[in-house]
Symmetry: C2
Subunit: 443 residues, 2 copies
C-alpha cells in the first residue's frame, strides 16, 4: 500500500476494521471514540478531499453511543462505514450526484445497507458519487495529492477510506467504478459478482451490469465485511490448490500502461513464481476485445430506460456526459440493442468456460498513477470486460509509482466465486508483503 502515513497523524481512525473490532470486542475502545476520531479527521481534511455528500457529526455520535449500549451483533459491531450516495438510507438524503436530487430523502433502505445496520455497523454518512455513477468527475481529490483525481465513480468512498476518514465504505461498479478509485487512492477494493452482494433497493442505472463493491484498508477487512454483507453464517474457507493456477492477462492495452504498472505486474509474477503458483500468460481471444461497441450499446440502451423519468422531467439538468449518452441511446434501434445483448450473453458463457481453467486472472487495475486534475474521463480498459462478464475483482494497493502515488494489481475470479477469490487474494497479498521489508513496494 502506498505510504499512507504521510497523509498525516491519526488516532483510532487509523485502525483497520479487523484491529478496531478486536479492541471494540475487548472493551478497550468504544464505537463513540472511534467515530470521534473519524469525525476529527474529516474536519481537518474534507475541505481538501471533498469525500462526503452527507455527514451529520451529532447523529453519528448519537448512533455510536446507542450501538455501544447494545449486545454485539457481529464482528464488525460498532465499526463505521461510509455509504456511496447511490444507496438509499431512511435517515439520510441520497443525491445520486444529480443536482435535482441534492438533499432528497427517499425514505427507503437499500438491502446491503440494512444487512450492515442489522449486524451492528454504524452507518456513518454518504460518500460522493459522480452523477448517476457516470465517468465525469465531480471534484473529489486524491488524499495522497490534492492536485490529483480520486477517480470515478465511487470517488468519495475510496478517498474517505484512503484518508482514514472512515474505516470501511461501499460502492458500485458498472465499468471500473470500484477498482478504479480503489487503485487511484491506494486502498483494497472488492467488486462482487453481479449478484454477489444483494442489489435489492439499489437504484440501477444499467440493470444488467451494475454491481456492488467494498473498500477497506486490509484484505482481512474485505473478507470480513463481505461475509457480513452477504448475511453468511460461516466464514468461507480456502479451497484452492496448493499451487494456485493464475492466468496473467496483460490485455491489448498493455503497451498503454505506464512503466510502473507494468513493473508492478511483473514484480507480482516473480513473487508468485517463487511462492509456487502455476502461472500462465493468457491472451484473451479477440472476440472479447471486439465487445467494446456492444458494451457501449447495452449500457446506453439500459441507461436510457433506467433514467426514463429523469430524461422526461429533468433532461437539461444532466451533466454533459450523460446528456451525450442519452442522445446516443436515442439514436440506437432496439435491434442493435438485442444484437449486442445477445453477443454479450454468449461471451459470458465463453468466458465462464475459459475462466474455469484457472483460480484467477492477474491483470492491471489502472493504466497508471492517478492523473493531475479533475476533468479526465479515462476508459476503464482493465476493468470493463470483467464487470460485463459478472466476475468478482479485487484491487491490491501495495505499490508506489514515480510520483509517490499508489500503483496496483487486480485479481479477477470466476463468476460467483467471490469467497474463494478473496481468500486467494489474501494468500497473494501475504506473499507480496513478505517479499519486502517495508511497504509500499517502490517501482
Amino acid at each position: 500500500m502506498a505510504d499512507l502515513s504521510k497523509v498525516g497523524p491519526f488516532g483510532l481512525n487509523g485502525l483497520t476494521a479487523t484491529a478496531a473490532s478486536r479492541k471494540l470486542e475487548s472493551g478497550e475502545i468504544t464505537s463513540e471514540a472511534l467515530v470521534s476520531d473519524c469525525l476529527l479527521r474529516i474536519k481537518e481534511r474534507n475541505t481538501d478531499v471533498n469525500a462526503w455528500a452527507f455527514i451529520d457529526p451529532e447523529r453519528a455520535l448519537e448512533q455510536a453511543r446507542a450501538i455501544d449500549k447494545i449486545p454485539r451483533r457481529s464482528l464488525l459491531h460498532g465499526v463505521p462505514i461510509g455509504i456511496k450516495d447511490v444507496f438509499d438510507t431512511p435517515d439520510m438524503p441520497t443525491g445520486h450526484g444529480f443536482k435535482p436530487y441534492k438533499g432528497k430523502m427517499w425514505h427507503a433502505e437499500s438491502k446491503c445497507v440494512s444487512l450492515l445496520r442489522d449486524a451492528g455497523l454504524l452507518i456513518f454518512g454518504k460518500t460522493i458519487t459522480t452523477e448517476f455513477a457516470c465517468p465525469q468527475p465531480i471534484g473529489t481529490m486524491n488524499p495522497h495529492n490534492f492536485e490529483r483525481t480520486a477517480s470515478v465513480s465511487s470517488s468519495g468512498s475510496a478517498a474517505a477510506v484512503a484518508d482514514y476518514m472512515v474505516t470501511l465504505a461501499n460502492g458500485t461498479q458498472t465499468g471500473g467504478s470500484v477498482i478504479g478509485p480503489a487503485a487511484s487512492n491506494g486502498v483494497y477494493g472488492f467488486k462482487a459478482s453481479l449478484d454477489g452482494i444483494d442489489r435489492t433497493g439499489f437504484r440501477h442505472c444499467k440493470p444488467s451490469i451494475d454491481t456492488i463493491g467494498l473498500f477497506a484498508r486490509s484484505i482481512d477487512d474485505l473478507i470480513l465485511l463481505r461475509s457480513i454483507n452477504t448475511g453468511q453464517k460461516r466464514a468461507a474457507h480456502l479451497d484452492v490448490e496448493i499451487r494456485p493456477r493464475i492466468a496473467i492477462v496483460r490485455t491489448a492495452s498493455w503497451s498503454d500502461a505506464e512503466r510502473c504498472v507494468q513493473n508492478a505486474l511483473n514484480y507480482t509474477i516473480s513473487v508468485l513464481e517463487k511462492a509456487g503458483a502455476y502461472l500462465e500468460d493468457v491472451q484473451l481471444p479477440r472476440r472479447f476485445d471486439d465487445l467494446i461497441n456492444d458494451f457501449s450499446v447495452v449500457n446506453a440502451w439500459e441507461g436510457r430506460r433506467a433514467l426514463a423519468m429523469e430524461v422526461k422531467n429533468n433532461f437539461s439538468e444532466f451533466n454533459g456526459y450523460n446528456r451525450e449518452r442519452i442522445r446516443f441511446s436515442d439514436s440506437l434501434s432496439e435491434k442493435e440493442f438485442l444484437r449486442s445483448s445477445s453477443l454479450l450473453n454468449s461471451a459470458r458463457a465463453k468466458m465462464d468456460k475459459l475462466a474455469s481453467n484457472f483460480d484467477l486472472f492477474l491483470t492491471p487495475s489502472l493504466p497508471g498513477e492517478a492523473p493531475i486534475g479533475t476533468t479526465e474521463l479515462r476508459t476503464p480498459v482493465y476493468t470493463r470486460l470483467w464487470t460485463q462478464m459478472y466476475m468478482p475483482a479485487i484491487n491490491l494497493p501495495l505499490f508506489e509509482g514515480p510520483n509517490n502515488m499508489p500503483v496496483n494489481v487486480q485479481l479477477v475470479g470466476r463468476n460467483n466465486f467471490d469467497a474463494q477469490v478473496l481468500l486467494l487474494a489474501k494468500w497473494i497479498d501475504d506473499r507480496l508483503r513478505e517479499s519486502v521489508q517495508r511497504l509500499p513496494i517502490r517501482l
Copy 2:
C-alpha cells in the same frame, strides 16, 4: 378467454385498459367513475376472492380526482393498477405475505411503480402475494369458482384482474408466479425478460431469477402497459417474418398435462398452420431437463442469503414451506451452489443459441384447470425453465376446460425480445379469436 361474463354484472370496471383509456381521453368517463366501479366490485366480491392485501377506497377516489384534474401524461392516464404486495409504495404498507411485515410501511417506491405513477396511472392498492412469493397458497380464490385456487404467487393480481376488480395489475415470477396465476384465473399475463422491466427497488428473494410481470384482460393492454413501464418513447413495431417460425415444445411433462391442455395446444397449432406460420416440433436437449436440481440449489442458496435478516430475527414466523427451504439451503455447500450456478449460466448461452432459430416457442402454461382447494403446491413444470433462462413469456387465456375453468397456451420468446414477442402474441391471439364465433374456445 374463459367466459368471464358469468362472474357477474359490471360497469366501467369491465373495460379493458385500452377501451377505458379512449373514453378517458375523450372525456366520456373520469378516472373517479372508473375507480368507483372497481371499488363497488371489490365490495361485492372480495370476501369470496380475497385478492387484496391493502386497499383504501377513500384514498383511491381522492387520487382519481387529483389525476382527473391534471393534464394527461400517457395513454394510460387515469387507469387503475393493482400492485403485488412485494413492491414498495410510500403511501401504502407492503407485507410481502410475511406475518411480521403485515401493515409495515417501507416508505420507498419501487422503480416500476414510480414509472406507472409518473405516467398518470392510478396506484390502486396492494394485491395478495404468498409469503415472499413462495409456492404455498395464501387463500386467494379463483373468481371463476371460489372453491378453486387462484394459483401462486401473484395470486391477488391475477384474481383481481380476472374478477374485474381492477383494470391492470403487476406481479413477479421466479418459477411460474405470473404465467401460473394468469392461466389459472384466465387473464393475459406477461413475464418480462430478466431485466425487461427495471427491478430497481424490488426486494429480491432470488436475485438472479426474480422477474417482473404484468396482468391485463387484452393483449393490447399488455403491449401498452409494458411500453409505459419501460419508459419507452415509441411503441415497438412488429418485426417478424411474414411466416413466423414457431417451435412447439410439448416438454417431458406432456403426458402429465390434462387432455384439455393438450387440446388447447393442438388447436392453436392447427390455427397457426392455416395462418401460414412455420411450425416445428422441438424436443429440448436432455440437458435442460437435467437442470431441475440446479434450479433448486441456486434458488435455495440465493433465497437463504436474501432472507438472511429474517432468518436471524424471525425464523419461527416463516411458513412451513419456507422453513423447509431454509433448512435445505443450510445443508448445501458453496461448492454445490457454484457448480449449479455455472451449469445454469452455460445452459443460458445454449438456450440463447437454440432460441435464435425461432421467433417463439409455443408450450402449455399449466398442466390443467385450476384445482380445487388451497393447499396444492404445484411444480411450475411449464414455466420454470424459461424463467431461469431469463426469457419473456406470455399467457393466452382463450380456452375453457371441462370444469368451465380457463385453459391456456404459453408463448415464450428470446431473452430481451420482449417487444417483438408481445407483438407476435397479438398476431396469434388475433388468429385464434378469428377461428371461432365466440370465446372461450371450448375443449
